[in-house]
Amino acid sequence: MIATDAPVHQDSGTETLKIVMVGHVDHGKSTLVGRILHETGFIPESKINHVKKVCDDQGKGFEFAFLLDALEEERDQGITIDVSQMFFKTKKRNYVIIDAPGHKEFLKNMISGASNADVAFLLIDAEEGIQEQTQRHAYLLSLLGIKQIAIVVNKMDLVGYSENVFNSTREVYSKYLRTIGVTARTFIPISAYHGENVSSKSSKMPWYQGQSILEILDNFAAHDDRSLLPFRFPVQDVYKFDKRRIIAGRVETGRVAVGDEVLFLPSGKSTRVKTIEKWNSEAPTAAEAGQSVGFTMEEQIFVERGDIGCLPKERPMISDRFQANIFWMGNKHLEKGGKYILKLATQEIECVVESILKVINSSTLEEISKNAASVAKNEVAEMILSTKKPIVFDTFDEVPETGRFVLVHEHDVRGGGIILKRAEPILGMNI
C-alpha cells in the first residue's frame, strides 16, 4: 500500500501529551520520530515496505525519516518542509508527536508546530555540534512558553559513542540555555538511526546512567491545569437561531458557574450567567478552561465578538498601548510606523508599531540594534504597539491565553508576540 499511514494500536486513554521535535536541519528529528513510531509499533508493515521500496529506488539504506517526510520534494532533498503530526501511545498515555522542520527557511512551520506543543525534544548532532537553529529553536520555545525541554544528543554512533563528546556538548549548551533562562530537564545521548537509547538502554553507552527516550517522555509532567487561572471568556459570536440569545465562545482559562456575575470588557457591562446551553445533553452548571460553551445571561446586555468576559474581582488590563516581544516570520520587514492587524483571542484590531526598542538575533541573542526602524525575518524584537482602540489583555506571564497575539499583514500571520507589560494609554481612559 502506498502513501498511506495509519496509527495502529490506537487507544482511548484520557491523557494526551503533545511533544515537538526541534533542532538544526539534518540533526535527526524525523529519523527519531520514525524510530519512535516504529519501536512502539505504530507504523503499519505496509508503510515500512513502501518506504523500503522508495529507499531502494534511491539506492540508500532504510530512512526512518521517510515515514514522515512523505512529500516527494522532502524525500528528494532529505529535509522536512512542513510539520507532520503523528499519533502513538505508551502504557502511560497517548502522544501527539509534532515533527518540526529544522531548516531556517521553514521557521514559520517550526513555530506553527511548536506553538501547539506541551513539551519539547531538542536535538543536537553529536558530530556537528551546536548550530544556528539549535540555539534559535530553544529561544523560540522559551518565548512560546514551553518550559519542559529535554536535550537529545543524536548521532552518537558517528563519534564512537564518546562520553567526552557528550559531556562537552552538554556543558556548552547548558551555558547557552542559562542565558535564555531555560533549564533543560535532561540531556540524553542517542543514535536514532541505530535505535540506541530510544526505547531501551543502550549497551553501546554503558557510561550513561539516565533514562531512554521513551522513559523521559513518560516522565514529563502533564500540562498545567488552565482552570486554576483567572476566568477569561473571549466572545466568539452571539447566536439568535431561535428564542435564545446565546453568547458563544471558549473559556480560555479559569471557570464560571451559573449565577456568577460576569463583567464584559472593554464595554464594562455585567450580568449573571443564567444558563449554560448544550445540544443533545444535560445543561451543565459550570464551565471551565478549554470548553466551547454558550451562555444565556440574566439581562440582555449588548456584547459582541472581541469582548472578554471575566469575574469582577480578577480583571485583565485594558490599554491602547503595550510593550511586547515579537518574533517576525514575514519576508518583508516589520517596519516602525507600520500598520498591522493584531489578533488577540477574538479581538481583531488595527495597530501601529510605535517604537522598536531593540532587535536581537534570535539565535546568537546578540543585540542587533536599539531604536530600530525595522525587524527582519527570523529576528526577535521588543517594541511598543498601539492599537486603534483600547484592547483587553493580560501579561503573558500571568495568563498566556490572553497575553499572546499574532500580527497579520497582507492576509497572512507574519508575527507572533507576547505581552510584557501595559504601557500608559494615550486615550486617557479611566480604567
Partner: protein, 266 residues
C-alpha cells in the same frame, strides 16, 4: 474533561470561527463516518441548528446505501443539501477505467470546483484527519487554496495559538478542517458515545466490512468480523493496516495522494 470532550471542544471552536468569519461557507458531506461526526459537531456548535449548507459531490458511482442514507438524514435533520455532479465529464464517459487519478480529478475535484464557483463559496469545511495519510498529516486547520484550486504545501501560512487564516484574496478559498486532530479510533468512540447514525456498510457482513467509503468501483471491503461499534474499536486498536488500504486511487503511484491533493482533492 476526557479526551473526547477535548477533541469536541476544539472542533466546535473551529466550526464557530469558520461560521463567524466566512459569509459564503459550505460543509462537504460525503456521508462517511467522519463527515457524519462533523455534522454532529456542527449541531453541537450551533446548539441544535446547522446554519451551513451541506455539499455532496455525487460521482454517480457512490454505493446506493450512501445515497439512501444521505436522503433520509437530510430530510430528518432538516439540512440544506446541495448535490453537485460533473455531468459534462460523466456525459463524456468518465470512469475509473480512464485512470483512477483522472477519474477522481474529474468527478470529485472538478465536481467540487463547479459547485464552489456556482455558489461562490469562500470557505469549505471538510472532515479530513491527520492520521488518514501522510499529506493530510501536514495540513493546517485553515488551509488556503489558490485561484486554480491548488494547495501550496511548500509555503503554508503559520498557524499558532488558534489564530487562523481568515483573511484571503478575492480569488482564493480556505479549506477548514475541524477534525484534523482526531484519530480513526476517536471517531468511532465518539460515534458510540453520541449514538451517531452511520451507513451500515461499515459493519461486517460475510467476513468483510468497509473501513472507508467511496465510489463502488474503487473502494473495497477489508477482511473483518467486526459487526458492532465496540468490535470495530477493538479491531482498530489491534490492527496493523491502513485505514485507506481499500481506496484504490491512493495506490495508483507513490505520490498519488500528494498529486491529487495538490490539485484540490479533499
Amino acid at each position: 474533561m476526557d479526551h473526547l470532550d477535548k477533541l469536541e471542544n476544539q472542533s466546535i471552536f473551529i466550526l464557530r470561527e469558520a461560521h463567524k468569519k466566512f459569509k459564503k461557507l459550505a460543509m462537504l458531506w460525503s456521508v462517511g463516518k467522519d463527515s457524519n461526526v462533523l455534522l454532529w459537531l456542527a449541531r453541537k456548535a450551533f446548539l441544535g441548528h446547522v446554519p451551513i449548507p451541506l455539499v455532496h459531490i455525487d460521482t454517480s458511482y457512490k454505493m446506493p446505501e450512501m445515497i439512501e442514507f444521505r436522503d433520509r438524514f437530510a430530510k430528518e435533520w432538516g439540512l440544506n443539501l446541495i448535490v453537485g455532479q460533473n455531468t459534462k465529464a460523466l456525459g463524456e464517459g468518465m470512469q475509473y477505467t480512464q485512470g483512477r487519478i483522472n477519474c477522481c480529478s474529474a468527478l470529485k475535484t472538478a465536481g467540487l470546483q463547479q459547485i464552489m464557483e456556482t455558489y461562490d463559496y469562500k470557505g469549505l469545511i471538510l472532515g479530513i484527519r491527520r492520521d488518514e495519510e501522510s499529506t493530510r498529516a501536514k495540513e493546517r486547520y485553515f488551509s488556503p487554496r489558490d485561484k486554480n484550486f491548488e494547495w501550496d504545501f511548500k509555503d503554508q501560512p503559520p498557524e499558532l495559538w488558534d489564530q487562523f487564516k481568515t483573511n484571503f484574496d478575492e480569488n482564493t478559498h480556505i479549506r477548514i478542517h475541524p477534525l484534523l486532530h482526531w484519530t480513526e479510533v476517536n471517531v468511532w468512540e465518539y460515534i458510540k458515545r453520541e449514538n451517531i447514525p452511520v451507513v451500515s456498510l461499515y459493519f461486517s457482513k460475510n467476513g468483510k466490512r468497509y473501513r472507508s467509503l467511496g465510489c463502488a468501483p474503487c473502494t473495497f471491503p477489508v477482511e473483518s468480523s467486526a459487526s458492532t461499534i465496540d468490535e470495530i474499536i477493538t479491531e482498530l486498536k489491534q490492527g496493523k493496516t491502513s485505514e485507506r488500504a481499500g481506496r484504490a486511487q491512493d495506490q495508483e503511484d507513490t505520490y498519488a495522494m500528494q498529486r491529487l491533493r495538490q490539485k484540490g482533492y479533499m
